[in-house]
Symmetry: D2
Subunit: 142 residues, 4 copies
């Protein structure tokens, strides 16, 4: 049974708007931090993949904002991999503050060559590294 990778993050003063709540755009940066943390746990760091000439490009994102987060709240960010294709990755993100659901998101990234920005297959060592955080495919059980 897989579990999401969870890390914590406190919104900075500079990230909050005149309502004192986190401005929406910063959540995309937070989700990117979650990916950095996942790569650290899964593959020894995102920089390792960059050094091998591979990067991720965001192709599509959907975010549902449930409750506002405030300055200095200790947020928990959960990430899991919903699908790994040949060149693409679907990740699911949940942001909470204590019991409160703050935001949910689905991101589709494409693996790209760092130089050409062209699609490139997911390397085996990345695929293996991510496996513990991949949601099992439903309906394949015996």
């Amino acid at each position: 049974m897989s579990e999401p990778l969870v890390h914590t993050l406190r919104p900075r003063y500079a990230e909050c708007d005149r309502e004192g709540i986190v401005f929406n755009a910063h959540y995309l940066t937070y989700f990117d931090v979650s990916i950095t943390e996942l790569w650290r746990a899964a593959c020894g760091g995102y920089g390792v993949m960059l050094d091998r000439g591979i990067d991720l490009a965001l192709a599509e994102v959907q975010v549902r904002f449930r409750k506002p987060a405030k300055f200095d709240d200790e947020l928990t960010l959960a990430i899991e991999i919903a699908h790994l294709g040949n060149t693409s990755m679907l990740s699911r993100h949940v942001v909470r503050h204590g019991e409160d659901l703050i935001a949910e998101a689905d991101l589709r990234h494409v693996f790209v060559d760092l130089e050409s920005l062209e699609k490139t297959p997911i390397p085996d060592w990345v695929r293996q590294g991510l496996e513990p955080w991949c949601v099992p495919v439903e309906g394949t059980g015996g």
Copy 2:
């Protein structure tokens, strides 16, 4: 026949990542600038609405990234209103660089009381101001 409101924007050096392309989170800020520009054209400025104690809160966003935008590219940002409910607004955004489609997005905002952050009905003067940029409802023609 309505037309989207179009304005131009050049990505800043600080908004581009190591690929020299605009980092994804900044697009949400760009869409917010489009709303500021729409309010300027429609209602005399977003500050007028803030002064009357009303703000917008983003409830949901979907972005599809088609091609990367680069530092200092002159982008055109188009915005139109797909739907005005009782308290919510659906806006459609298209980002282009010349003929190239860079990104498309759908945003759902909720009108909120500036103090309580609770939902509040769209004021008539805002509804009237936005009308020229509202997409006509399909299938209602004679």
Copy 3:
């Protein structure tokens, strides 16, 4: 003998430019995070001061950039208080990556009333809380 408050921070992918190095503006945000961390240690959190109607406004800043910091580097940020006046605070900041000196900065903040943005005296409970991180005045020894 006082010691600076030290915390760690990893630059985010979104904060690095096409050189793969941290864009300069983000350092001001990092210094602000240091102040948030100092207030947490000194006064039970920056939010406590905001709740009492007091905020800090930056009046002057000088930064010297020594070496570039890179994406995901584990930086140490040190902050100490060089001077507390009647309404103003001078803080010194040093950013390091391992042994490497990345940046040094001097910031002068003014305590302001949250509503009026007018100068206000430093509250005693803040002054007492900050004391352990105040650099002793030189030349006053016996």
Copy 4:
């Protein structure tokens, strides 16, 4: 007689904090935009210099914040070159809102090789392009 290059910029909603005023870090980004605009006027665009393998790195900055700027204020940003050395450039920045002085800054940049990040002499074509915005050296008049 030289005059500063002046351009206008409206702070975005996302750049304002809970006071409704521009957070300090964004000014460094604004000054960087001024440099982009100066290069457009002086040298056909900053991208031309990047394409030739040369970039600027900020070595030192001093900012004095005089009055807060607010969301959507039409700010004027003035930039002039105070000194061009062999590899370094000192620029002076003034931000105004109408008659109000918002901020003043002095930035020292170093010209660097885009690949190595090592110092490199200012190219002649850049030096000539910048000349109209260079403050005349005092006391050399006949």
